[in-house]
């Protein structure tokens, strides 16, 4: 018997680039508080994935990413007091917990006239204006700032609506694009007019073009960098990518974001050269196929690693696509370009999905990543409070299992003969929340991961290729 044989597996360190993100975010949050105090720059509550960073940066507006701050509260396991405050104001816990955390914080800050005690990383600064969004990705983002305005009635809101054509297997979306494009251009121009009014400055369109070109260049660099993760062993996992999402989503249109990915690319190339992987003995390659992470439980990625599993790819927060493959029409107007890029991103998988029977863009993206990154299994996270995004995850897994069976196995027929068959990639759905830790059980989560690893092992054994 093996009395006291169990030994603790060494925790793998993150890439240097990912490790640098924490201090970067901390400084960013501190910077917004400083800027507010000094009054040199206007501050705007903003949401990610709205293609307006270039506009804000070109007009010297400092975005305050409210989803980011809620995530920071979650990661520091200090969101509960803000969630409870929001509940005491009458908001239900079943609403988006990012929004609840932000509303609880805002109410507290406004009530005190200063930051709440021990506010995470110095707290979230009071904005000069707010830019909400009615875009399809997430419905609370249209209402969150309206609710926040109850506590900050003097802070104006501009709501930007960024739609895109829905997928239809038998209809070419390109026919509808001009209509959508025209609408989005008007929305972005409306935002520019609003920001001009708030800042008292006129937009410098040459400067805007510079920012747009910098973003495009950064998009392509991110694609090239993340493609390096297809190497075996994988040099960087999703645990790290939940850090490196910061330059993608919060720093786009800045030189810092571009430089960050230049450094990361170089680091990954060095790791690949040295055959240095996230785990020493890589057994399973997994795809984080959807869902925001539980920010308070990122250590679960290390737990996967301790089982020999690594995540070379994720769909979450990879909010870029190769610009060259989008066929963006040439234009002299940076606003028109932004609108085309928005549509190009959201319809990127449409044509590929139409080529597969039963195809669907989100599922096609999963299949593409499974093949490109040599994936053995898919993991998703269903966060109870994030309805808009997470509600379709199970459907995606079902559809994936239905149309894509890449694993050759032998099946025993009723006649006793074995015949070759194909089966789907194993999948795991974790259940918790983005920042509400009361929804999380570490024991249950890790038991699920253990069972999933056993499933991967048995599937690997049953492969006949």
């Amino acid at each position: 018997m093996a009395e006291q044989k169990k030994k603790h597996k060494k925790r793998r360190t993150a890439t240097r680039a990912a490790a640098s993100i924490g201090p970067m975010v901390k400084e960013f949050i501190a910077g917004t508080v400083r800027a507010q105090r000094e009054g040199a720059q206007k501050l705007a509550y903003s949401f990610i994935v709205c293609h307006h960073e270039e506009i804000l940066r070109a007009m010297d507006v400092l975005p305050i990413w409210t989803e980011n701050f809620a995530g920071v509260c979650g990661a520091k396991r200090d969101a509960e007091r803000f969630l409870q405050r929001a509940e005491s104001l009458g908001f239900s816990r079943s609403l988006c917990t990012y929004a609840l955390c932000g509303l609880g914080f805002d109410h507290w800050r406004e009530e005190l006239g200063e930051m709440p005690p021990d506010a995470p990383w110095g707290g979230q600064a009071r904005p000069d204006f707010m830019i909400s969004t009615g875009q399809i990705l997430c419905d609370p983002r249209a209402k969150w700032y309206q609710a926040a305005q109850q506590y900050m009635p003097d802070v104006p809101i501009y709501n930007i609506d960024l739609p895109y054509p829905l997928y239809h297997p038998d209809r070419d979306h390109r026919e509808e694009l001009p209509y959508y494009h025209k609408y989005i251009v008007e929305e972005l121009k409306g935002l520019i007019a609003f920001v001009e009014e708030q800042t008292g400055k006129k937009m410098d369109y040459e400067r805007l073009w510079e920012r747009v070109r910098l973003s495009d260049k950064t998009w392509n660099l991110i694609e090239a960098t993340y493609d390096l993760r297809s190497a075996i062993p994988c040099p960087m996992g999703t645990g790290d990518a939940m850090n490196t999402m910061v330059p993608i989503n919060f720093m786009m249109a800045t030189q810092d974001a571009y430089d960050f990915f230049l450094n990361l690319k170089q680091e990954l190339e060095e790791k690949i050269k040295k055959k240095e992987g996230v785990v020493e003995n890589e057994k399973y390659r997994l795809l984080w196929g959807g869902g925001l992470p539980s920010w308070f439980a990122l250590g679960d990625f290390n737990y996967f690693n301790s089982k020999g599993a690594v995540f070379p790819a994720e769909t979450t927060y990879r909010m870029v696509a190769p610009i060259a493959e989008m066929n963006i029409p040439k234009t002299d107007d940076p606003v028109e370009h932004l609108a085309w890029r928005w549509l190009g991103y959201w319809t990127f998988w449409y044509d590929k999905a139409r080529q597969r029977k039963g195809g669907e863009p989100d599922v096609e993206r999963l299949i593409n990543y499974i093949e490109r990154y040599k994936i053995d299994g898919v993991v998703m996270h269903e966060a109870f409070s994030c309805r808009t995004w997470h509600v379709g995850l199970i459907w995606q897994l079902h559809q994936l299992a239905k149309i894509y069976k890449p694993i050759p196995v032998l099946r025993l027929g009723k006649d006793g003969n074995k015949t070759q068959a194909w089966r789907e990639n194993p999948s795991l759905v974790l259940e918790s929340d983005i920042i509400d830790i009361t929804s999380y059980s570490e024991v249950d989560t890790r038991n699920k991961i253990d069972a999933f690893i056993d499933t991967l092992e048995s599937v690997a054994k049953s492969r006949v290729d």
């Binding site: 018997m1 044989k5 999948s427 918790s432 038991n447 069972a451 056993d454 499933t455 054994k461 049953s462």
Partner: protein, 262 residues
């Protein structure tokens, strides 16, 4: 003689199987209690006592279940799903879907013709979809959990429970009792509510026959009956359905040490 041991350290009960080559396996079970490590040692001791074997005859121990990592004398640990699949496959080679109604969760998983797990789903973090709800309702009724299944079978008019939440179910049960609803109707209602939740989980996973029911919940005839009704299909139940994970753990330990068939 060489022996192997499988320990299923559940949150409610610990189950152990000792298998010595060339002889019948022996089993032991007891409540898990608050100290998992001590309970695991007790199970080890009792198994040796019952079998008349000595500790140095044991060449391998495999632990599984909620508290598997508390079994400090185990050589290997495997998930309960992997062990259940092996245990169930040994008893029912035709099984393709397994429903495990445990104390903290209900689990549904599919397995292939070799007994290997293919996919699985667990009931949510709320205990409303697990065997725990039956324990809580039994307490409300001042009955033993082992009794409530039989009583529920006498029901002529099961109560409709409007919730799957265990806390709400408890308060609803208290209200219904106060209204004078017969115990058997109330119990049949809670069994039906649990069966509906398990069925939803199974439908979500995808059901392939044969379906086997295991875990402590499978010892409850009321749950077996309502689950068959709600799912509209036959469900196989092994003898000692709560022991299958421990049995599978012993089999897996045996295969690691090249034992012949049990």
């Amino acid at each position: 003689m060489k022996c192997v041991m499988g320990i299923d350290m559940g949150s409610f009960r610990v189950k152990g199987v000792l298998w010595c080559q060339g002889s019948e396996s022996v089993t032991f079970e007891c409540p898990s209690g608050g100290d998992f490590e001590a309970t695991a040692r007790r199970a080890q001791k009792e198994l040796l006592l019952i079998s008349g074997r000595s500790a140095n005859e044991i060449v391998g121990v495999l632990s599984t279940g909620y508290g598997s990592k508390s079994v400090m004398f185990a050589d290997e640990t495997r998930s309960d799903i992997a062990c259940q699949c092996i245990g169930v496959h040994a008893l029912f080679p035709s099984a393709r879907t397994v429903i495990d109604v445990g104390d903290l969760h209900s689990k549904v998983f599919s397995l292939d013709e070799n007994g290997a797990p293919l996919k699985f789903l667990l009931s949510g973090n709320c205990a409303g979809g697990s065997g725990r709800v039956l324990q809580i309702i039994a307490k409300v009724m001042n009955m033993k959990v082992e009794e409530i299944g039989e009583v529920s079978l006498k029901s002529k008019k099961p109560v409709d429970f409007s919730t799957g939440c265990v806390v709400f179910a408890e308060s609803e049960a208290v209200s219904r009792l106060a209204e004078g609803v017969p115990k058997e109707d109330l119990l049949a209602g809670i069994h039906r509510a649990l069966s509906s939740q398990i069925n939803s989980l199974a439908e979500r996973l995808g059901i392939e026959e044969d379906v086997v029911l295991v875990g402590g919940g499978a010892r409850n005839p009321g749950l077996v009956k309502t689950l068959r009704e709600v799912m509209g299909r036959d469900i196989l139940v092994p003898e000692g359905p709560h022991m299958t994970a421990a049995y599978g753990a012993a089999l897996l330990a045996g295969s690691l040490y090249n034992f012949k068939e049990m």
